[in-house]
C-alpha cells in the first residue's frame, strides 16, 4: 500500500534535517536503517500502534523547546558506587565522566569506536533493532540506528564489579538528541546499568542488549523530572539460555514519553522482567509499549506497570506476550494498573496475548481505579492527615513495580524519590 501523503511529507521533512554519518563499520547498518525508515515512513496518527499516543511531537522536523529543569534535590543514585558516564545534550563528556577502565568490562564511545573498520558491535548494532521490527514496525528506532552518532558500546565478559551509570544532562533548551547504546553480555557476565537525568529537549534513545547464556543484566532507569521533555526510547534485548534480564523504569513528568521494550527469549530457561512506575501531573503522556516473544522452552516473563495520574495526565500501556509454537512451559505474567487521582486523568490499556503453544501459563490483567476510600478513611481515623494517607496508599499502589528492582538500596532510593514527588504536590 502506498504511504499516505501526509506521512510521506512528515518523514521527508524530518529526514531533511538530518545527515547520515558515513564511514566506519556502522555505515552499512545506517544505510539499511535509512532505507527502512523511507519505506515505512515515521509513525503517523493513523497507525494502529500509535492509536493512543500521538507521535507528532516525536516525529516533527524540529523539536519543541524544553525549559532546563533546575533540580532541587541531589542526583539520583549519586551515592551509589559506580562508574559514571556523562552525556550533555547527548554528547559524551569525558571530563565529567569516570575513567572507562573496569574489570571484565570494555567501554567505548560510539562516536569514537564508530570510525574503525572492524568492531564487535558491528554484529549487534541495528541487528537487534531489526529483529524487533517484526511483526510491528518501530520506525523511530530505525531512524535512531541511521542517525545516532553517540552512545556507549559496552562489552561485559564477567561480573562487573560495580554498576555503570549513564548520567544525562540537559543544558540547551533546543537540544534534539539521538543516542544509541549497544551492550554485549558474554556467557555468565553480570552488569547493572543505571540511567538517570534529563537527556535533552527531545530524545530518541535506543539500547540493544545481547544477553548470552547464563548472563544477568539489570537495568534501573529514572526519567525526569524535566517537565517539557519529549522522549521516545527503545530497548531491544535478546536472551540466551538461563539468562536473566531485568529492567525497571521510573518516569516522573515529561509532556511525552514513549518507552518501548522488545524482548526475545531465544534460549531455554531464560527470564525477563520489565517493570515501570510512572507519575504524571497535568500535561503528561506516558506510554509503555512492551513486546515479549517467547521462543524457547521453560522461560519466564513478567511485566509490571503502574501509573499514578493526576490533573488530566494520560497513561498508555500496550503490552504483548507472544508465545511461539514450541515454546512450551512458558510462564508469562503481565499486569498494568493505573491509579487515577482525579476524574480528568485517563489510562488507556491494550494487553494482548498471542499463544501458539499448548503447555503454557500466561495471565494478564489491567485495572484503573481511584484511591480506596475505605482504606483512606481507616488511615485518617487513626490520625493520618488526608494528604499523607493518600501518599501512603499511592506508594503502596506503586510497590509491586518497585519490588521488581533486585537491589534493595536502589529500590529504596526510588521510593524516596517517589515520596518526594508526592510530597511536593501534597495539598
Amino acid at each position: 500500500m502506498a504511504m499516505a501523503q501526509a506521512k510521506l511529507d512528515a518523514t521527508d521533512a524530518r529526514l531533511a534535517t538530518l545527515s547520515l554519518p558515513t564511514g566506519g563499520w556502522a555505515e552499512a547498518a545506517r544505510r539499511d536503517a535509512l532505507t527502512r525508515v523511507q519505506a515505512t515512513g515515521l509513525p503517523g496518527r493513523r497507525d494502529e500502534y500509535w492509536k493512543y499516543t500521538r507521535p507528532d511531537m516525536l516525529t516533527a522536523a524540529t523539536a519543541a523547546e524544553a525549559a532546563i529543569f533546575d533540580a532541587d534535590e541531589a542526583p539520583v543514585f549519586g551515592e551509589v558506587d559506580q562508574l559514571k558516564l556523562v552525556f550533555v545534550d547527548g554528547v559524551f563528556d569525558a571530563a565529567a565522566s569516570d575513567d572507562l577502565a573496569l574489570d571484565h568490562v570494555r567501554i567505548e564511545r560510539l562516536a569514537e569506536a564508530g570510525s574503525a573498520d572492524i568492531h564487535w558491535a558491528r554484529d549487534l548494532y541495528g541487528t537487534l533493532e531489526i529483529a524487533g521490527q517484526t511483526p510491528v514496525v518501530r520506525p523511530l528506532a530505525a531512524l535512531n540506528t541511521a542517525f545516532a552518532t553517540d552512545g556507549v558500546l559496552i562489552h561485559v565478559t564477567g561480573a562487573a564489579p560495580k554498576p555503570i551509570a549513564l548520567v544525562y544532562h540537559h543544558s540547551d533548551p533546543k537540544s534534539d538528541v539521538m543516542l544509541h547504546h549497544v551492550i554485549r553480555m558474554d556467557a555468565g557476565a553480570e552488569l547493572t546499568l543505571l540511567e538517570s537525568g534529563p537527556v535533552a529537549a527531545r530524545c530518541n534513545m535506543v539500547m540493544e542488549i545481547d544477553v548470552a547464556d547464563s548472563a544477568a543484566f539489570n537495568h534501573v532507569r529514572v526519567q525526569g523530572r524535566d517537565h517539557e521533555r519529549q522522549a521516545a526510547t527503545h530497548i531491544f534485548a535478546r536472551l540466551g539460555q538461563e539468562s536473566r534480564f531485568k529492567s525497571f523504569t521510573m518516569t516522573a513528568n515529561g509532556v511525552m514519553t514513549r518507552n518501548e521494550c522488545v524482548i526475545e527469549l531465544t534460549g531455554d530457561d531464560a527470564s525477563a522482567h520489565v517493570a515501570g512506575a510512572c507519575m504524571g501531573d497535568g500535561d503528561f503522556l506516558h506510554d509503555d509499549t512492551v513486546f515479549i516473544t517467547h521462543d524457547a522452552l521453560n522461560c519466564e516473563s513478567r511485566q509490571v506497570f503502574k501509573k499514578v495520574l493526576r490533573n488530566g495526565a494520560t497513561g498508555v500501556f500496550q503490552g504483548k506476550i507472544l508465545v511461539k509454537a514450541g515454546a512450551q512451559k512458558t510462564d508469562g505474567y503481565q499486569i498494568s494498573q493505573s491509579l487515577l487521582l482525579d476524574e480528568d486523568s485517563q489510562f488507556l490499556a491494550k494487553p494482548e496475548l498471542e499463544i501458539y503453544a499448548d503447555d503454557v501459563a500466561c495471565s494478564h490483567g489491567s485495572t484503573s481505579g481511584a484511591i480506596d476510600e475505605d482504606a483512606l478513611f481507616y488511615l485518617r481515623a487513626r490520625g493520618v492527615p488526608h494528604g499523607i494517607a493518600t501518599d501512603l496508599l499511592t506508594l503502596s499502589f506503586l510497590a509491586e513495580a518497585v519490588e521488581e528492582i533486585e537491589d534493595a538500596g536502589l529500590a529504596e532510593e526510588i521510593v524516596t524519590r517517589m515520596e518526594a514527588w508526592l510530597a511536593r504536590r501534597r495539598g
Binding site: F377, Y378, L379, R380, A381, G383, V384, P385, L393, S396
Partner: protein, 251 residues
C-alpha cells in the same frame, strides 16, 4: 467526655434516616455499652462520630470534651483523642502495619504540638504491647490487616488503641468473631487502658464481653434511638429474654 445530643443522621446517597435523635453522654472514667438489634444504627453512630463520609447530620450535636466533633476531619477527631475500633477493620495492601502505626502516632503528636516518638521508643512500646495481645513480630511487619484472621484483625485494633492512647474509645463489636481466649485478651487490653480520664463506648451483641469489661451503663438502641438505659443488669436481661420485651415496653 463524649456528649451526643438529639443526633439525627441521614444517608447522603439516599433519602434515608438512620439515626433519629440519639442522646448519650459518656463521662470520663466510665464504660458505657450499647446493645441493640441488627440494623438499629450502632455502627452508623460510631462512623458518624469518627467522621466517615456519606452521612448527613440533619440535627443535633456531638462534642468531645466540649469540642464540636461534627465539623472536623477524621484525622482531627483522632488527634483530639477519639478512637473507633472498626467492626470490619480494613485491609491495606502495601502499607506495613508498623509504618502505618508509627505514622499515625506521630501525626497525632504533631497535630497536638507534641514531640514525635523516636523510632527506638516506638519499637520498644509496640513490642511490649503486641506481646500482651499475643500479636507476633511477623504480624507487625505485614501489610495492615492483610491476611489477618478475623480475630487477629480485632486484636490489631486494640493494639492501635493502646499505642494511640486515646481519650474516648468506641469499640464496634470488637468481640464478634473472637474465640474465648482472644476475647479475654481483648478485654484485658481494654481494662488495662481504663482510667479516670478515659471514656469507653462498647458496642456489642453479647453479654459475655461485658463479664470481662464491666460496664457502668448499658444502653439499648433500636431504630436509630436509645430506647432504654440502665445498669449492667440490662445486658443480662437482653441475654436471657432478647429484645422483645424491652422494645415493646419502650414503644
Amino acid at each position: 467526655m463524649l456528649e451526643i445530643k438529639n443526633l439525627h443522621v441521614e444517608l447522603e446517597e439516599e433519602d434515608k434516616q438512620i439515626l433519629k435523635g440519639v442522646n448519650l453522654t459518656v463521662e470520663a472514667g466510665k464504660v458505657h455499652a450499647i446493645m441493640g438489634p441488627n440494623g438499629s444504627g450502632k455502627s452508623t453512630l460510631s462512623y458518624v462520630l469518627a467522621g466517615r463520609d456519606g452521612y448527613e447530620v440533619t440535627e443535633g450535636s456531638a462534642t468531645l470534651e466540649g469540642e464540636d466533633l461534627l465539623d472536623l476531619d477524621p484525622e482531627e477527631r483522632a488527634s483530639l483523642g477519639l478512637f473507633m475500633a472498626f467492626q470490619y477493620p480494613v485491609e491495606i495492601p502495601g502499607v506495613g502495619n508498623m509504618t502505618f502505626l508509627r505514622t499515625a502516632v506521630n501525626a497525632q503528636r504533631k497535630a497536638r504540638g507534641e514531640d514525635e516518638m523516636s523510632a527506638t521508643e516506638f519499637l520498644k512500646e509496640i513490642r511490649a504491647k503486641a506481646k500482651e495481645l499475643q500479636i507476633d513480630a511477623e504480624m507487625l511487619k505485614r501489610p495492615v490487616n492483610v491476611g489477618f484472621s478475623g480475630g487477629e484483625k480485632k486484636r490489631n485494633e486494640i493494639l492501635q488503641m493502646a499505642m494511640l492512647a486515646p481519650k474516648m474509645c468506641i469499640l464496634d463489636e470488637t468481640d464478634s468473631g473472637l474465640d474465648v481466649d482472644a476475647m479475654k485478651l481483648v478485654a484485658d487490653g481494654v481494662n488495662a487502658l481504663r482510667d479516670e480520664g478515659r471514656g469507653f463506648l462498647v458496642i456489642t451483641h453479647y453479654q459475655r464481653l461485658l463479664n470481662h469489661i464491666k460496664p457502668d451503663v448499658v444502653h439499648i438502641m433500636s431504630n436509630g434511638r436509645i430506647v432504654k438505659t440502665g445498669g449492667p443488669e440490662l445486658a443480662l436481661e437482653v441475654e436471657e429474654n432478647g429484645y422483645g420485651g424491652i422494645l415493646a415496653e419502650a414503644v
